[in-house]
């Protein structure tokens, strides 16, 4: 930022404040609308001009969510599969990223290129072959069938690789001199120095897993194993969807995301800040 521009902003702090508040309002608006709509009636939802405040405040929509779908079952399934999947994805990505950046082994370059290429293949292309594999392993309608096929992600591995590569060699060499092998270098040097990146990767992974719809739908037939996105899709009718009910379900559905973000926010901001400083 030039010094001229900086001084202009310093002279008009109200301008930057207004701009920031506008940005905040734009980002918050969908959430506020979602929460308000979750208390509205169907007539309120379709009213024109748009009705901001519900005509009557009622928890009926929330009750209807529980009456229409086994919401708590789906919620638990989503939490369980998302947490386990995220844990496995991050663990695998850490070890793979470490190996690819810090260890020279035959074929590492080829593996890296193959992994990068896999990011260009749309998920739908591999869905049926993957389904056939899972079916042959008799993992249809199981948590393992939902989780295991999705634990490898090139995106997370590459995200972590970029951070691992930036850790000074001197740190690793010092650890080696102190007698640390690959495992202790990973746990005592790499991971502690990449906490921000790992938090970011965890957030991305959890977000993706939480909203995953197609794979859990294809792999499960039994309601017992279904996840929340499938349940929420059931609330969508072919016409005049009960948007107010969907909004109520959505408010309840984003709570784990908000909690995850709250726990990882500090690390996320720190990692972004450090990246900028570099």
């Amino acid at each position: 930022m030039t010094s001229v521009r900086k001084s202009q902003l310093n002279r008009r702090p109200w301008l930057s404040t207004i701009l920031l508040y506008l940005g905040v309002a734009m980002m918050l608006f969908p959430f506020v609308w979602m929460i308000l709509s979750s208390f509205k009636t169907k007539a309120d939802v379709y009213a024109y001009p748009p009705r901001w405040i519900p005509s009557t405040w009622s928890w009926d929509n929330y009750q209807k969510v529980f009456d229409t779908i086994p919401f708590l079952r789906y919620y638990w399934n989503s939490i369980f599969t998302s947490v386990v999947q995220t844990f496995l994805q991050v663990a695998l990505s850490i070890t793979a990223g470490y190996a690819l950046t810090r260890i020279e082994f035959p074929g590492s370059g080829l593996y890296r290129r193959l992994m990068q290429s896999s990011m260009f293949v749309p998920a739908v292309v591999t869905m049926i072959p993957l389904y056939l594999t899972v079916a042959s392993l008799r993992l249809i309608d199981t948590y393992a069938g939902i989780i295991l096929p999705q634990i490898e992600t090139a995106f997370l591995t590459m995200l972590l690789m970029s951070f691992f590569a930036s850790i000074p060699d001197d740190l690793v060499d010092s650890a080696n001199i102190d007698g640390c092998g690959y495992y202790r270098v990973l746990t005592n040097v790499i991971v502690p120095n990449s906490s921000g990146a790992i938090a970011t990767a965890t957030l991305f992974a959890f977000l993706g897993n939480w909203k995953s719809y197609t794979w859990p739908l294809i792999i499960t037939n039994n309601t017992y194993y279904r996840t929340l996105p499938i349940g929420m899709k059931y609330l969508v009718q072919e016409s005049s969807s009960e948007y107010q009910v969907m909004m109520a379900a959505s408010v309840m559905a984003i709570l784990p995301i908000l909690i995850t973000f709250m726990f990882t926010e500090k690390q996320l901001v720190r990692s972004v800040t450090l990246t900028g400083m570099k």
């Binding site: 007539a43 379709y46 389904y131 079916a135 249809i140 016409s239 005049s240």
Partner: protein, 416 residues
């Protein structure tokens, strides 16, 4: 001696008691997937559970399989891996039976298992692949033309003699745009359609173009001939004269329900769902270019299991669900159409019509509802038609060029 004999006889009796359950036939558990949600899903499961309760020896495992596209993906994957459901309620069912050489549904149809004579002929056409029945019609609908009575009143339009042709509708919609914008919105529409591909296929047929033809067993797309281009030119005129917005069909129903469209062509199943509009809602039969015709759409029942015993039970389930009484009950609760001619004589149907005259509109159209033959690339055809409609509406291509391109691409796909 007597003691030994008694012991032996007791052992024999005990063994026979233990083996009886093993000898008795195992209960059949049928997997049933359905591609309908909300009220339709609830009604379908209610009917299925009723059959389940009345049939000892067979139990049902019901599973919502997502929307049409998701269900197609699921069933395709399941058929490849041998984990297919026994019964499915899905779109384009014949592509998963007749197209794969499974002609059992046609055999049952020929044997009279599904009240063939009582079901509308057009609906059986909707269930055929290469001339053979591959499914049983169940959740079937046509498009109906809904209108906003408040807008008509404001515009001074008398709907007691509704527009019967598209030219007449054009004039009425124009009047509605000029005088009926009661909410004073900048994007008021005289006419909208939520599924333009479905509508344009009906319009092609009305003008004498059957969309596809079958020549020596080969399906040939014909929706780029002179008759089809006439329809496309009219479509473009509606957009150019600001009666219908370009490329906003995904938003069409929300806009209509907000009171900002005069007319909308939408599925007949909206009759039972749009019951709490903030304006007076009416419906009329679809206008026509020449011949009265409306294209059928919706879900059908298929039996996929290859196991004979399971297939026999599945056939019974399908026959139950698709019977005149049960299917009529499903139709009334969900807004889909009754598939049996005899349903129109039922007290429940007559009462529904008297309570809501819009049902009469939907049921009247059954007499001239039609369907083209199923073929493997019909999904691709719909996608290409959607693109063509977009190109025509936005002026990216002329109607002839857009339809020519769609036909050429479809032929290439079919030849691959």
């Amino acid at each position: 001696m007597k003691k030994s004999l008694s012991l032996i006889l007791s052992l024999i009796l005990l063994l026979s008691l233990v083996s009886l359950p093993a000898l008795a036939e195992e209960e059949i558990k049928l997997q049933v997937w359905y591609a309908v949600s909300g009220t339709s899903g609830e009604t379908f499961t209610e009917l299925a559970n009723r059959w389940d309760a009345a049939n000892d020896g067979v139990s049902l495992e019901l599973s919502y399989s997502g929307n049409s596209g998701d269900t197609a993906t699921k069933v395709s994957a399941a058929l490849l891996s041998g984990t297919e459901p026994d019964v499915a309620l899905m779109y384009a069912g014949p592509l998963y039976t007749g197209a794969r050489g499974d002609l059992r549904m046609d055999e049952w149809y020929q044997a009279g298992d599904f009240d063939a004579e009582d079901v509308y002929e057009g609906m059986w056409e909707y269930c055929k692949f290469a001339g053979k029945v591959g499914a049983v019609p169940f959740g079937i609908s046509t498009q109906v033309l809904y209108y906003n009575k408040d807008i008509m009143e404001a515009a001074g339009i008398d709907m007691s003699t509704p527009p019967a042709t598209w030219e007449e509708l054009y004039e009425v919609a124009k009047q509605a745009v000029e005088k009926g914008n009661i909410n004073n919105v900048p994007d008021f529409a005289g006419f909208e359609v939520s599924d333009p591909v479905w509508l344009i296929k009906s319009m092609f047929m009305q003008n004498g173009n059957p969309v596809v033809e079958v020549h020596d067993g080969e399906v040939v797309p014909v929706f780029n001939n002179e008759k089809a281009v006439e329809v496309a030119n009219f479509w473009k005129k509606m957009v150019d004269d600001k009666l219908m917005p370009a490329g906003e069909h995904n938003n069409a129903e929300k806009k209509f329900l907000a009171g900002n469209s005069a007319f909308i062509a939408a599925s007949s199943n909206r009759i039972s769902r749009w019951t709490t509009t903030e304006f007076g809602l009416g419906a009329i039969e679809m206008p026509t270019f020449g011949e009265k015709s409306v294209a059928l759409g919706g879900n059908v029942l298929v039996v996929l299991t290859q196991d004979e015993r399971r297939a026999a039970a599945a056939k019974e389930l399908v026959a139950y669900l698709a019977s005149a009484e049960n299917q009529a009950e499903f139709a009334l609760k969900t807004g889909y159409l009754p598939t049996h001619k005899s349903a129109l004589e039922m007290d429940s149907i007559k009462e529904a019509i008297s309570q809501n005259p819009m049902y009469n509109v939907a049921f009247s159209q059954l007499a001239y509802a039609w369907a083209y033959t199923h073929f493997d690339e019909m999904g691709t055809m719909d996608m290409l038609l959607w693109t063509a409609v977009n190109q025509i509406e936005k002026g990216a291509k002329t109607p002839q060029a857009a339809l020519d391109y769609a036909v050429e691409e479809l032929i290439m796909e079919m030849e691959d």
